[in-house]
Amino acid sequence: MSVSATRFSVSTSLNRWFGQHLSLAIGAGMLAFFIIMAIAAPLIAPYDPVVQMADARLQPPSLSHPFGTDNFGRDILSRVIWGTRIDLQIAFIGVVFPFIIGTMLGTIAGFFGGLVDTVFMRIVDIILAFPFLVLMLSIIAILGPGLTSFYIAMALVGWVSYARLVRAQILVLKNSDYAVAAVSLGFSRMRIMFRHLLPNAIAGSLVFVMSDAVLVLLNGAAISYLGLGVQPPAAEWGIMVAEGQPFVTTAWWITFFPGLSIVFLAFAFSLLGDALGDLLGVHE
């Protein structure tokens, strides 16, 4: 790759930057939109998301209810807005713990090799041998339905991908010149692992975080759809889709808007993941 030395005016370079990073801009913009919506939910939601209005049941989208109402007379728009809080939380917590656990274990396995590596990687193989959703469902079935169980199940199952990614990088990097130099300088193993190797090995995982967030979000919605995640009457997109399913041919708006929100949030994460990959020079 050749680096151009020519100086551009600020506006041209901004244009160019956005041209190259269009997906980053759109993805970040969409995510920001959802985050603002989640934070401002009490201010912008026109109605209480759980209050039932018996005389306003199954109303199609209108001025007073832009997204319509469900079979209990609850305002869909308000529920979608409040649902953003839960779904963002699902995407965040559902990714953070697997990321931390997976990165730690992957680093240790890759750095030490030998028996430690063998043990960790066999555990990874065992977990990967089960279909992902089946394993999740059985853990949640044991722990009882609810979001906490979902997070625990995610943490127990989701870390394996991160562990594999990081380990592979560490295996390569630990033989690089600067790592060998650090060893010969007598630095502690901890310092070499986490200060020298990990920052260089983590780029792939960071990109994967974004695509993983999509999967976690869809899983969370699926688990709630099956009645094992968020419990009613809380507003969560997956559960809203489930609750609206019986009415899908008569009142499409109950399932349509929360479904659309899932699609948009997932899309935002995908775009961000793409852009991050380009920026960090990671190609999946």
Binding site: F72, L228, Q231, P233, P246, T249
Partner: protein, 504 residues
Amino acid sequence: MLKKWMKIGLVSVMTSLSAGIGIAEAAGVLTIGRREDSSTFDPIKTAQNIDFWVFSNVYDVLVRVDKTGTRLEPGLAESWAVSDDGLTYTFKMRDAKFSDGSPITAEDAAFSLIRIRDNEGSLWSDSYKVIDTAEAADPKTLVIRLASPSAPFLSTLAMPGASIISKAGIESLGEETYAESPIASGAFVVKEWRRGDRVILEKNPNFWEADRVSLDGVEWISVPDDNTRMLNVQAGQLDAAIFVPFSRVEELKKDPNLTVHLDTSTREDHLLINHSHGDLGKKEAREALDYAIDKKAVVDTVTFGLGDVANSFVPKGALYYYADNLQRPYDPEKAKELLTVAGVSNLTLDYLVNAGNEVDEQIAVLLQQQLRKVGITVNLQKMDPSQTWDMLVAGDYDLSVMYWTNDILDPDQKTTFVVGHDANMNYMTRYENDRVKDLVAAARLEMDPAKREQMYIDIQKMAKDDVHWIDLYYSPYINVSRKNIENFYQNPLGRFFLEDTVKN
């Protein structure tokens, strides 16, 4: 990963669609869509409506329930006589044949009744323990001696579980083969059973009322998804569909090609209360729950106004239903007062919900909101239906909604099950009242209908007073058929009269 799951989803959608498509059939074959497939054709080994509703068109019984669901009429028994002490029943058998052409004798009838009482796999043996002996005096005469007088006895003979099967047939074929492809005593014979998909019946030419049957055959087709099943009828791929969701009735009524049937049923939905759990043992607390629940709102929201608010565990229109039974009005203030009187504060209840059951989930969300208004916190626990039943039996719940449809026209069966202090802890409520218990036992023996009715009225009053559970609503059977189908009817006990159904 995601792709794989999407593929699985797509494949299952495709298969369910193609199940609907291959249905175009020869004239005279009625196709009916339902939520699930049969589980057996052995009449004693199931308690599911889904099986019973097919049995009644494959098997005949000694005594039938009529179309109104309130009277008994002769079936395979042409007539009967009861001895003065009420212990001996003598049935005169009709000239009738099984689908294999062999005659249906008193011996087959005796065999069928002894089998439901004694067979290890029978789910109904308790209900038939009252039979002491059942013997064929001659091929046309069946004599049954009871251990004690029993008012509901005749009506238990009409239950599909007591269907008459061929003694020689089951002995030569073996129970398992018979349960797959039985020898029929009713209007239709099982031609083929594609497990998990459909039951294919064809007209039984040897049926004693064969003249009455106009259809060449019937196919009970399993289409689990409600939306798909309705679309199949609308598109003409099915002639009829049962289990129409409440939410679809208005829309289907507008379709000029369809007839929506709202047939009176004996279904009652109720809220179980676990009396053994802390404050729920106090009558005031249970009364407070009853006042706090707006049943009219449940009827409006969940049944779209198609149900009726219930006031007794005996369903409306069933024998000995007490129409003037107490109906506690919706009164949140009174509920709060009662909770104060009982010294109950910060009541928190675990409400067990059948996951995936649309109606159950809707009721749960409604009741949760209503009870919150009187300061009761309700935690919804969604569980797989296979688990909820075990949890109810173990007493691992505070509240849960269940429903019941009557299997026999006599109220004894449900009354025993619900307040008779039987083996099931009064339908898992752990309700205890010895006066009710004694009255239920006495009503079973009382042969004078007027006195018996009074006893059932007293039972209904006392149970209501104790708030043994909370009656929510009665709802009809909702079915839909194409306009060219005539006489598609289900009686309150769930029997379809397919022998009268005509496909034009």
